[in-house]
Structure formats: C-alpha cells, structure tokens
Amino acid sequence: MTWMAWTPITAVFFTCIILMLIGMGIWQTVSPTVPRRGFLPLITTRGDRLFISLLGAAYIHLGWLAVTDAALWIASIIALLWLVCIMRWG
C-alpha cells in the first residue's frame, strides 16, 4: 500500500466515506428509502441526497479555497450543515 502514498488525513477521509456508505446500506436494508420531494426541485431518494450533499461539500471546500484564506474548518462546518439540511429537508 506504500505506492498509494497514504496520509492519516486522507485515510480518515476515505474511512468516513466507506463507513457512510456501509451505514446507508444497512439503513436501506432496515428501512427502505421512500422517494420524496423536499426543497430541492426534484424527487430524491436517501442515496440521491447523500450524493448531492457530498458533491456540494466538495464544491463548498473548493469555493472556500478560491475566495478566502480563512481557516478551512469553517468551510467544513458549512459543508456539514449543508449535508444535514439536504438529508433532512432536501
């Protein structure tokens, strides 16, 4: 695995993503998702909302890096709020 040049931060990042996917898989088995329409202008399943949240989180971080030199953890908090909003009301 040395050739993959792992760092602790990227290892934690991918572990979180994998755990999230496993969690969503278990959640789906226990309680299958029902497509619904929230504030987003489309009908979404739970998986759709997770995808939108993660993609949005990536863009929030990139946008933050592009426009400001302020600490990145602020962008991470915004991304987390975005994720909660999309998953709950999206």
């Binding site: 040049a5 990227t10 991918f14 993609l55 990139l62 592009a66």
Partner: protein, 290 residues
C-alpha cells in the same frame, strides 16, 4: 403479478465491482492522496494540505484552458447533436441502403484517435493536403498551424467528422424502436412533420439522446489526442485544452501534487455537469410522461 426478489443476485455484480475498484476507485484514491502532498516518490513526500488546490484554483492559465474547454465542448454539442438527429431522420428505414449507411457511418468511429489527428493534419495542409489546398484555391487564407481561428475551426470540424456518427447511430436506434402505430395515429390526426418530430420522435429518442450527449460531453471535455496530434495545443496556447494542460503538468513538469489536485477538480466539474444534465433531462421526461 408478484415481483420475485432474490438478493443473492447482488453477488453477480461482485466481479464488476472488483474490476471497477481496481481500475477506477483505487487510482482515484491514490490521486487524492497525491493531491495533499509534495511528492517525489512514495517514500519521499511531504504533507502540504490544500496548498496545491489553492495554487491550481488561482492559476490563470488553467482558467484560460477551462474557458477554451467550455467553448469547445459547447460548440461540439451544439453542432453534433442537431446534426446527428437530422442525419438519423434522413436515413433509410429498409432495404440495402440501411446496411450501406451503417457501415459508412461506423467508419470514422473505427479509426484510432491519433490516426484521426494525423489524417486531418495532412488533410488541412495547404501544400500537400486536399482540404487546405481547396480552401486556398477558393481565395481563403487558411493556415491552421499559424492562425488560432483556423486551428479552432479545424479541431472542431475534425471532431464533428469523427464523432457525429455516434450520435446518428444512437438516434437511429431510438427512431427504429418507435412502433408504426404511433405514426399511423399521427397520420390519422393530420399531424405535421414537425408535430411528429416534436411529440413522437424526440420524446422517444430521449433516453438515447441522454446517452449521446453525456458521452459526447465527457469525451469532448477530456479530449487530448486529436488536438495534440493536429496542432500540439497551438498556435500559442489557443487549442490547449484541460487534459493537455494536465498532461504537461504531470508528465512534462512532473508536478504530481498540483496535477493530482487539478485532476480532482477536473473530475468534480465533469461529475457535476453530468449529474445536472442527467437529472434535468430525466425529470423533464417524467414531467412529459405525466
């Protein structure tokens, strides 16, 4: 009728998952790892956080390449999709002409990308190429190796020549799947040709058009070989697109960290555009069905 569900069938997907993991997911994870490090080799590396991302986002040459890429892809889609639909509508539906047209249309798709670049490089030359010679004979000043506009037109025409066939074949497949009953009903209702196209053919082609547009978008947004062979990214940087810029960064300058950060941004742009496009088109289709 009750639908039979058998979750064991998911195991059949396992080989595909393994292949995708090895060919796509693991390399992508490696790129993410590289993007946060100043890396010389896997043993000699330093963590730099988001420095490469910031550097790439502030790089004006990258912004220029992105603008060129968007204009190029927009032009390609604006030409190839309507042209592909128009050609598909004019193709014969039965007889020997069908096979002949299919073979002719498939020919450009069979030619390797670097060969396409070489063909057009020679074809466009005024001294030995037929295309360049004819254009010059018409009194038009044309030199794709010196004039940026000529280079642009040549690159776009080359792509249209190479890939419109794909759109035609997809649209033709979509048109062939429409039952005759639809046309007969339209005829009874006295529908015009435009109405038949708008309310029967176009909706029925929707799913193949989604595939066609997505394939053409992704492919033209990642184009490398043909412009590289034809113009080498020039004159100047006028036909240097994102993938050429990325290759120059990663292979030419061996800046693996910034190249990895750039790759991730590139990937995210393609992912976002494809998702938005797919969602918009599929939702429009559902609304139309309702």
């Amino acid at each position: 009728m009750n639908k039979i569900t058998n979750n064991k069938a998911w195991f059949l997907v396992l080989p595909v998952f393994l292949i995708v993991a090895i060919s796509a997911i693991i390399p992508l994870m490696t790129v993410v790892n590289y993007s946060v490090q100043d890396i010389f080799d896997p043993q000699t590396r330093f963590f730099v956080g988001t420095e490469w991302f910031k550097q790439v986002l502030e790089d004006t040459r990258l912004h220029d390449a992105l603008v060129r890429q968007i204009i190029y892809t927009g032009s390609i889609l604006a030409i190839e999709i309507p042209l592909g639909i128009a050609i598909a509508l004019t193709l014969p539906r039965k007889g020997w002409g069908v096979s002949a047209c299919m073979v002719l249309l498939a020919l450009p798709l069979l030619i390797p990308w670097n060969v396409v670049g070489t063909i057009w490089q020679i074809f466009g030359r005024a001294d030995i190429g037929l295309g360049g010679y004819v254009i010059r004979s018409l009194g038009i000043s044309y030199n794709y190796s010196q004039n940026p506009m000529d280079a642009w037109i040549t690159v776009v025409v080359m792509d249209v020549w190479h890939w419109t066939s794909l759109v035609v074949l997809l649209c033709y497949a979509g048109l062939r799947s429409i039952p005759d009953a639809y046309y007969q009903a339209a005829k009874i209702d006295g529908a015009s040709n435009w109405a038949v196209f708008r309310f029967i053919q176009l909706p029925k082609m929707q799913s193949v058009l989604v595939i066609g547009v997505l394939l053409r978008f992704m492919d033209s947004f990642m184009i490398y070989t043909e412009p590289f062979v034809l113009t080498g990214g020039g004159p100047g940087n006028s036909t240097t697109f994102l993938s050429q810029y990325l290759t120059r960064m990663a292979v030419g300058q061996f800046d693996l960290g910034p190249a990895a950060a750039f790759s991730i941004i590139y990937f995210l742009i393609i992912l976002l555009v494809c998702w938005v496009f797919y969602t918009v088109v599929m939702n429009a289709g559902k609304r139309e069905e309702q």
